[in-house]
């Protein structure tokens, strides 16, 4: 295989993905939310998921991360089929290959911000000193004042928590990244920093899937858009 062909090999590839929720405690209601979803993202490419609220953007993203279970189809990320992989395979994938910046920061209370950001690197076996140095560099870049680093982020403002979450998501150079509204609730200065981080990740070859309500940000970093409402099962069915 030639190098250029190799470059085109998708990092993230979904085919025929379907999802429905069954609410056992609400009369067994079945809510089909997605069917026949296909998506392909190459290294260095950033794809925006679009569609109205409720169309299934977050659901699709959560399925790629293995957080929601797919009922059908394949979800290949760096050679692993997330839809059928064992938990330990998904854990390894999340540690090494697949990063996720969610809208919510979930941490052990009391753990200092610097350690929260360094944790993905420590989990990979990076030495504590260099993991902390990288964490400090990202926090500084995202304008989190140094006096806050020894404190737990649980008491921070929404925007500060969001930036801690972004720092944590970019601590390791994941080959695949999922970004859920990375620029929401950020001021223009920090928004610009985040967009630079995304561009740098693309430049080093990361495949990115993102949800951006911020149209200007989307236009700047995304190579194409994928409207997920075409995957919404018809109500008539």
């Amino acid at each position: 295989m030639s190098i250029s062909a190799q470059k085109k090999m998708p990092m993230i590839e979904l085919s025929g993905v379907a999802k429905s929720f069954v609410l056992h405690n609400q009369g067994g209601a079945v809510i089909p939310v997605m069917a026949g979803a296909d998506l392909s993202v190459a290294p260095g490419e950033c794809v925006a998921l679009t569609g109205a609220s409720g169309a299934g953007k977050s659901t699709l993203m959560r399925m790629i991360y293995g957080n929601y279970r797919a009922n059908a189809g394949r979800i290949m990320v760096g050679g692993t089929d997330v839809a059928s992989a064992e938990p330990r395979e998904i854990i390894a994938l999340r540690r090494e290959v697949l990063g996720y910046v969610s809208q919510f920061l979930r941490v052990v209370p009391r753990v200092p911000t610097l350690d929260v950001v360094a944790e993905p690197l420590l989990a990979l076996g990076v030495a504590e000193e260099s993991a902390r140095a990288r964490a400090a560099e990202l926090l500084a870049r995202l304008n989190i004042p140094e006096r806050l680093w020894p404190l737990s982020p649980t008491t921070f403002s929404g925007g500060e928590q969001q930036r801690v979450n972004i720092a944590r998501g970019f601590a390791h150079d994941y080959p695949a990244l999922l970004l859920d509204e990375p620029t929401a609730s950020l001021d223009p200065v920090n928004r610009a920093v985040v967009l630079e981080l995304i561009e740098a990740a693309k430049a080093r070859g990361a495949a990115i899937v993102g949800i951006f309500h911020d149209a200007e940000a989307r236009a700047r970093v995304c190579d194409r858009e994928e409207d997920v409402s075409v995957f919404t099962p018809q109500a008539a069915a």
Partner: protein
């Protein structure tokens, strides 16, 4: 990779009543699995069967021993199983006083487990005891105090130090944060996470606290009436529960 622990068809009955039945799973090195369910779901019975505290009525608990590779611990000799309990296995009880000797000093509690595996040099034992007290954030000057003079959270940390000093590979935990107030719980969770990562421990954690498993466990098993009703990646089971009982459990958690 060989699983560290292979559980096959474990069943325990109390007369006609089922304690737990048909439990199967593999645990790999470095994995932390949570076992959740309401009181009476069989989760503690299962943990005690796996740890050799209760004899199961059926099934195998195959542990990958350092010397002889995978061995069924249910059928191994009692002395061999007890040796495992002092070396490669550790058990953290919900009530620290069940896992500690309350009339022996903190240092003695840690040293005892070392002596059980052959340590004899007093200076070395004391040094390691002090080192472990430090790792669980207990001041060195408390080494000669008895655990009865410690707070609940300190007792629990001492129990963890006593268990981990022999560098086990598998830790069984029964409600390790139960009965502690929330600020102490958080500190203990942080400590446990750090130790699991640094020592590459595998652990089985029984709890009814979904927040604890979300933060500590990679995988989750949900039990009801002695049976496993659902298992998978922790965040997947909690965020996209498939079974009716798990959906009920997750939706019953009070939001703070």
């Amino acid at each position: 990779m060989t699983p560290l622990l292979q559980v096959k068809g474990i069943e325990k009955r109390y007369g006609a009543r089922i304690g737990c039945a048909d439990v199967n799973f593999d645990l790999y090195p470095g994995e932390v699995m949570g076992i959740v369910g309401e009181s009476g779901s069989g989760k503690s019975t299962l943990l005690n069967c796996l740890a050799g505290h209760l004899a199961p009525d059926a099934g195998q608990v195959i542990f990958d021993t350092r010397a002889d590779g995978p061995v069924d611990t249910v059928t191994m000799s009692e002395p061999a199983r007890r040796m495992l309990g002092r070396t490669d296995w550790a058990f953290v009880h919900q009530h620290a006083r069940d896992g500690l000797r309350m009339n022996v000093s903190a240092g003695g509690n840690i040293g005892e487990r070392l002596m059980a595996v052959g340590a004899r040099h007093y200076g070395d034992i004391r040094d390691r005891a002090v080192d472990w007290l430090d790792r669980v954030e207990i001041a060195e000057n408390r080494v000669d105090d008895r655990p009865s003079a410690f707070s609940g959270g300190m007792q629990q940390r001492l129990q963890i130090a006593r268990n981990l000093v022999t560098e086990p590979r598998l830790v069984f935990m029964d409600e390790p944060t139960g009965g502690l107030d929330v600020s102490v719980q958080a500190r203990l969770l942080d400590l446990l996470r750090g130790l699991v990562r640094q020592m590459g421990l595998s652990a089985l954690i029984v709890t009814h606290d979904l927040a604890v498993v979300r933060l500590l466990a990679d995988r989750l098993m949900v039990m009801k009436d002695g049976h496993v009703v659902e298992s998978g990646l922790t965040d997947q089971v909690l965020d996209d529960p498939q079974h009716a009982y798990t959906q009920l459990l997750v939706s019953s958690v009070l939001q703070v």
